[in-house]
Symmetry: C2
């Protein structure tokens, strides 16, 4: 089976081109993803009260539950740019629509990059025109799109799958995100995620499923907990496969499949976090509720002290337990136990003797598992984070405006 | 006028000795601060659900509103240490009381250092005995106490004042704190603060004033927002000066004086934050309420992206505005304006042209002022933080258990 990619689901074309917005020469920075026809679509956006112009316009345009496509630029976030920013985001949609014979509101705009600079619209428009001519549905086209949406990301992030048994359909996605990652998106980072599927999915279901998947994937990843002004995840269902999602069984299958794709993308964001040398999975079990478990997982995942300890392969578990205690939800250390890479280090409020050298060695892995059992209920959650290294400081103290 | 210190308020003695708890040889790590007589006292403690044994015992012992003194050790937090930890914290009080002819519950214990290790009680007891013999009220005694409570702190932190006009009294304080600093203390980090006064203050007033001052000082400082298991601030009023705080005017004067001392100590914590090269004051005006203003100030002060920008002298104001937007309280960027070191960079939702080189140079100061005017109400707050440097990573990735 050939490798699946963003354009494996039928009925989509994409392109990514270099328009000179990014300072790095020849770097791709404008991209289009287009369905062959107007299609059911859903999107979730940042809940930051400071949201970028494209988020404002995107919310308007998605309200009908259908899109022809998305138009994206990297290198400029078009955030905190006032009325001119709104005008520019609308222009990106209008131009894309014009070139592809659609209506303005059939395009969702996304931007990522520096905040507070007006968009270089000449470059952006040139990019959109070039992208509209370069559209195609090969793996190369998918890769061009993936590359054009990146900023400080070191690698592109993709996930795709094909349904097994039952009706045949595909779901694929790409995303970007490396810093300013602490998404809390709802239907109403800069993390951008674009998901395609050729299943036939009614809009209300698409919205439900995207929200369900987002809560367990993008909203469960953090690099620096700085919720962006531009976070957006969008799914478009071309319906080009003969696969209508109808029965409860089909709905559950589709929901889990979409969640898998989103989880894979979220994991890749943590792995490529600015300065990251490893992914850390914070797994909470036995909290009073799933929602409490998520709050505890996030508090641990966001602690700079925990992230530094992970960087130094230091089994300094006190930082983890104390981070759980400050999360603000019920937590009783006397009931809980903690494992680092499967070694128990704390149980029922008491330190457990362990071989610190051995555990430290086990922490020197590309993926670290932190398992905290609260023994208070049935709530579970996983949050993905990365370690905090000097690389993060280099990137963010030197990334000048 | 000779320099004021912790023991300038009459009626106190203190000592700090080396007991071998800290790994650094001859470093002082056990300390006593004792009032000549049982005195009105108040304390605030961490709100972390994982709180250390000395915090548990301290809450018990302060409940009567009177103390003879505090017994402190550095190098071991006595947190996550179960029943043995409680026994050890009680023993610290019992031994101090025994040596100073007091009752156990007249001593408040404080510990700071590594979490999850049982206390080396032989060393601690030896230290307490030595400290009890070394008690005195000179500046040298005050300095010994200040030194013995430090951990990763690079400098000691002291503040003191004498009342002007009206009744003559003194207030002084010392504190420690450099990392794991995100206190949210209530009357019910590791930041430890010890405040002495020789004013005559009834216990209910002392509690009110300490809570008022804490909210505006210790609870308004953050280094890494990791609320400690051990944060404690305690004030003892010896009443040794002929200065009873009674009239509304005297109460206000005393409240503001104590707040000044606490603010000075909090500022010194930010300045000595792990890896810090500068203090950053986040000043919010015009929020809907003081409480909203505090939430916004804290969200900005805790953003690793803002702290990295400050480290790099980067006027990347988008990170500041977006951090305000994610705080979770009402915030409208279209109404607000932002100044960096007195230069306006953003006004009414629009970027303002400014000389980036000039502002960058102005950010290369030991103290940076960030002023965000929300223009929504009368709420004000200041939060002190520090920049995020590679030094923080070095300290916290290498500080092994």
């Amino acid at each position: 089976m050939p490798q699946l990619h963003l354009l494996s689901p039928k009925g989509f074309r994409a392109a990514g081109v270099s328009a000179g917005i990014k300072t790095k020469k020849h770097a791709k920075d404008v991209a289009l993803l287009v369905a062959d026809q107007l299609s059911p679509a859903a999107a979730v956006f940042t809940t930051n009260k400071v949201f970028a112009a494209p988020v404002k316009i995107g919310r308007e345009h998605i309200s009908n539950g259908e899109l022809r496509g998305v138009v994206v630029n990297a290198g400029n976030a078009n955030a905190c740019t006032g009325m001119q920013g709104e005008k520019d985001a609308r222009r990106m949609c209008a131009l894309s629509a014009d070139l592809l014979d659609a209506r303005d509101e059939e395009f969702l705009p996304c931007s990522t990059g520096i905040i507070g600079h007006l968009m270089p619209m000449q470059k952006v428009e040139r990019g959109i025109r070039a992208a509209s001519k370069a559209l195609g549905n090969s793996r190369e086209h998918a890769l061009s799109f993936s590359d054009a949406i990146l900023t400080t990301d070191l690698v592109r992030k993709e996930a795709a799958l094909e349904s097994k048994g039952g009706k045949k359909f595909r779901i694929a996605g790409v995303c970007k995100g490396s810093g300013m990652i602490g998404p809390r998106m709802t239907l109403h980072a800069t993390m951008l995620a674009f998901i395609t599927t050729d299943a036939q999915v009614p809009v209300p279901l698409l919205r439900n499923v995207l929200e369900y998947a987002t809560e367990r994937s993008f909203n469960a990843v953090t690099v620096d907990d700085h919720m962006s002004t531009n976070d957006t995840a969008v799914v478009i269902a071309s319906g080009a496969a003969d696969a209508s999602i109808e029965s409860p069984k089909e709905i559950n299958y589709f929901r889990d499949a979409l969640t898998n794709v989103c989880e894979s993308l979220a994991y890749q964001i943590a792995k490529d976090g600015e300065g990251a040398t490893k992914v850390v999975a914070i797994n909470i079990t036995g909290a009073i509720s799933d929602s409490d478990a998520r709050v505890i997982a996030r508090a641990i995942a966001n602690s700079p002290l925990v992230k530094c300890a992970m960087h130094g392969n230091d089994p300094n578990w006190g930082r983890i337990v104390s981070a759980a205690g400050l999360a603000g939800v019920p937590f009783d250390p006397d009931k809980c136990s903690l494992k680092l890479q499967a070694t128990t280090v704390f149980r029922n409020g008491q330190p457990v003797k362990f071989d610190a050298n051995k555990v430290s060695k086990s922490l020197a892995a590309k993926e670290v598992q932190v398992d905290l059992a609260c023994n208070a209920g049935k709530g579970v959650a996983t949050c993905w984070t990365c370690d905090l290294s000097k690389g993060y400081i280099t990137i963010n103290a030197d990334y000048h405006t």
